[in-house]
């Protein structure tokens, strides 16, 4: 298999389509920069023909959920900041929260208020965007148990939070979910979801669709019993819980469960594909993202690695680890499932974001979803049926030689299967994969996805484990090193229909930030060594770079301030799985600062948050 996909070449027909798209874009009325209005995108054909339902169509200047829309595109319709002026971006204001762990979430903005939550100890802040310097309106300290710090495998992080029903809703590291009144900053409800002393933590962004909050646990390295649950937004009461391993009643499989592939059909597969008694400590947590199709009324989310991470101890497919679920959003009953890496031997998981897009496929439109899996293959899957349409490598890997499109299963390279107590050299990718949880973004204007990725391999030795509650049920001893080229990371544009890389920006350090796309064809991302960049969505040309105080493992977002100006915000604060590179020379220190940028010329005008301060004028001397 070619390690690096060949340069992307457009077929003549596609070139014609692209030309039409460019012309169409050129014929549109330019956006009024003073109003920061959106360019309508529904009639602009992207290069690939892929589109997305941007429901719930959040007001253009706001960012009310981590994925911005149900489809999780992270696409903003704002256009004030564009390729011509992005180089004039300047820091408007900053905010430091003092928390020392990895900062992985995106700020949310609604009603001229910005909401952020720190990693452990999970303190929430509401910042008033109408006042100079965005002062703190309120803060809320939930005081989670410090025990959780040492039970979280990969730093005491939090990947995001949710705004719904007048509440800010998020998970605490000690396995509780909390809701805070957005006006008062007072706790409305708090629900205990799991037992932290057994190694269960909660790090995912609580996600709200309709009247339900969806949350799941972390702890695939601790032998937890993975689950996802739905809570009542108003009361925090648990409505249903679907485990990811165990018999059909626990995993909520019933008559509606119709997976596409026959190997995923059968009774109690969540239990029978494990050695007896092991499914209940089989890991397979849900700590990634939940996306939602309001027309199909289905939610989509992934599951983590099987526990222990020593495959010799758990012969079998280990369903439903390293998989994706489609479930009824109201009842939680499974509609279909697909396992990316059967009997996961390398800790590849399946938790990465599922971006819901509609693609032209053999003359018809397919409702699809894209997942850049940790295993190094980017999957385009029919989200109605679970059929894999496209599965191509998007980075360096050697554990498999391809995907068998009849079954959707990988063709495993026997030489790269780890054996107990034997060192296996240069397996690619390593446990953090070719890409981890950091979410990609989609632009309906180009029809491409954009994602941060890794280029890392490992020498691995498996040590068989005993299950001891509250300790790691893990067993992988690893040293990690960059793959071919020597760069630890990269940022790429991906064609989800043809399964091809369109362009790639290699980076010396890991790239572990979310991506942000805008209707002005900009893409933003940050690097683990602290560079925040804006690039041209079509060419990958770097248009602007700013070095920030710490590494970036968060998610950039953009909003319109009460002054009508477009801002771009990103948290710094290296941590999380990026710490695998911490011995690399030049690796940044921890940090905890939110940076908010605006255009330089806008900075010349006195307006809230920029040049106006609440400092009094100097008094005359005496």
């Amino acid at each position: 298999m070619p390690r690096t996909p060949p340069p992307f070449r457009l077929a003549p027909a596609v070139c014609a389509l692209a030309a039409v798209a460019v012309l169409a874009a050129g014929c549109q009325k330019p956006a009024n920069p003073k109003q920061g209005l959106a360019v309508p995108v529904e009639h602009v054909a992207g290069w690939t023909g892929a589109t997305a339902n941007l429901a719930p169509n959040t007001p253009p200047g706001e960012w009310r959920s981590e994925g911005r829309d149900d489809a999780n595109t992270r696409y903003s319709p704002l256009t004030q900041i564009n390729a011509a002026n992005v180089a004039q971006l300047k820091i408007a204001w900053t905010f430091s929260d003092g928390a020392q762990y990895g900062h992985e979430g995106a700020p949310l903005v609604a009603d001229n208020t910005m909401y952020v939550v720190t990693p452990y100890p999970n303190i929430a802040y509401a910042l008033d965007l109408t006042k100079p310097g965005a002062p703190i309106k309120w803060s809320f300290a939930p005081n989670p148990s410090p025990m959780a710090i040492g039970k979280a495998c990969c730093d005491a992080v939090l990947r995001g939070w949710a705004l719904a029903d007048g509440k800010l809703i998020y998970n605490l590291l000690d396995a509780h979910t909390v809701a805070v009144d957005v006006k008062t900053g007072k706790e409305v409800w708090r629900t205990k979801m799991d037992n932290v002393e057994n190694g269960a933590t909660m790090t995912m962004a609580a996600t709200v669709y309709g009247d339900k909050v969806y949350v799941g646990n972390s702890g695939g390295e601790m032998g937890v019993h993975g689950w996802l649950a739905a809570l009542d937004v108003k009361t925090g009461k648990e409505l249903w819980r679907a485990y990811n391993t165990g018999p059909d009643d626990q995993v909520k499989i019933g008559a509606d469960y119709k997976p596409f592939y026959s190997w995923l059909k059968g009774k109690d597969l969540g239990e029978t594909t494990w050695p007896k008694g092991m499914a209940v400590h089989g890991g397979s947590a849900s700590w990634g993202w939940v996306s939602f199709d309001p027309e199909l009324n289905l939610i989509y989310y992934g599951t983590a690695n099987p526990s222990p991470r020593v495959p010799a101890q758990r012969p079998g497919l280990n369903l439903f680890s390293a998989a994706v679920w489609a479930r009824d959003a109201d009842t939680g009953m499974a509609k279909w499932a697909f396992q990316f890496t059967p009997h996961d031997q390398w800790d590849y998981d399946g938790v990465n974001e599922n971006v819901l897009i509609d693609i032209p496929w053999q003359g018809k439109t397919r409702k699809a979803m894209v997942q850049f899996n940790r295993n190094g293959f980017a999957y385009t899957i029919d989200r109605q049926t679970g059929e894999v349409l496209v599965a191509q490598p998007f980075g360096n890997l050697n554990w498999a030689t391809g995907i068998d499109m009849k079954t959707g299963q990988p063709i495993v390279n026997p030489a790269m299967q780890p054996k107990p107590n034997v060192k296996l050299a240069n397996a690619c990718p390593t446990d953090i994969g070719v890409k981890d949880w950091q979410p990609s973004a989609f632009s309906p204007r180009t029809g491409l996805l954009y994602t941060a990725m890794f280029n890392v391999c490992m020498d691995v030795t498996d040590h068989p484990q005993s299950y001891i509650a509250g300790t790691p049920y893990d067993g992988m001893e690893m040293t990690r090193h960059p793959g071919p080229g020597g760069n630890w990371g990269a940022f790429i544009a991906w064609d989800p229909v043809r399964g091809k890389k369109v362009w790639e920006i290699p980076e010396k350090f890991l790239v572990m930030s979310g991506a942000l796309t805008t209707a002005s064809d900009l893409v933003f991302y940050g690097t683990v060594d602290g560079w925040f960049r804006a690039v041209d969505a079509r060419t990958g040309k770097v248009l602007w770079s700013q070095k920030l105080g710490s590494g970036i493992v968060s998610q950039p977002m953009t909003y319109t301030g009460p002054d009508g100006q477009q801002y771009v915000a990103v948290y710094t604060g290296v941590g999380g799985a990026a710490m695998v590179e911490s011995k690399q020379a030049g690796f940044p220190a921890r940090g905890n600062t939110l940076y908010v940028f605006a255009l330089g010329q806008a900075a010349q005008q006195p307006r809230p948050g920029m040049q106006v301060t609440d400092a009094p004028g100097a008094k005359p001397g005496q």
Binding site: S466, G475, W503, E504, I505, W531, T539
Partner: protein
Amino acid sequence: MRLTLTLAATTLLLAACGQRVVPTSSGMTPTERAIEALPGGDLAGGVQSSIGASIRNPLEGQPEAIAAGKQLFVQMNCAGCHGYDLGGSMGPNLTDKYWRYGGSPGAIYRSIADGHPQGMPAWRRALPPDQIWKVVAYIQSFGGATPPADYQGALQGDYAAKATGKGAGTGAQSGAKGASAPAAQSPNP
């Protein structure tokens, strides 16, 4: 498998005894009593404590104890948190002479036996004293622990400067070059 049985037996025994551990001085060796008396911080009033310097690991430096400690370190899942090289990951580095709760043999024993609030379990009920000492011997073999004679110096921050162990000054690999704004590869206009 033997390990699993031992654990199961321990768990049963503990269940039979109830969840509450009642401290008792009966049956304790002088060393164990000394560990119980070891202060968790500096003594109020600037008084120097000598007790840390008096606690030695009876198994220190014994190759078979170190080998057994290594086995326990992996089997009890210590390595999952502190690393197979003891360099730290979920839990702290045990080789680098920085010890939040003390790096003398007695303090390390106490940390293993009693646990700590940020997720370190207490092993007092699961491991007998000689097994804990074996784990301490294994940790000591990496050179980061404080020799008992340097107990007071370690409290005052004077130990790390003169110590030269395996954990000293990890030289990170170089190779980072200056370019800060890389160009895209294979741009598609």
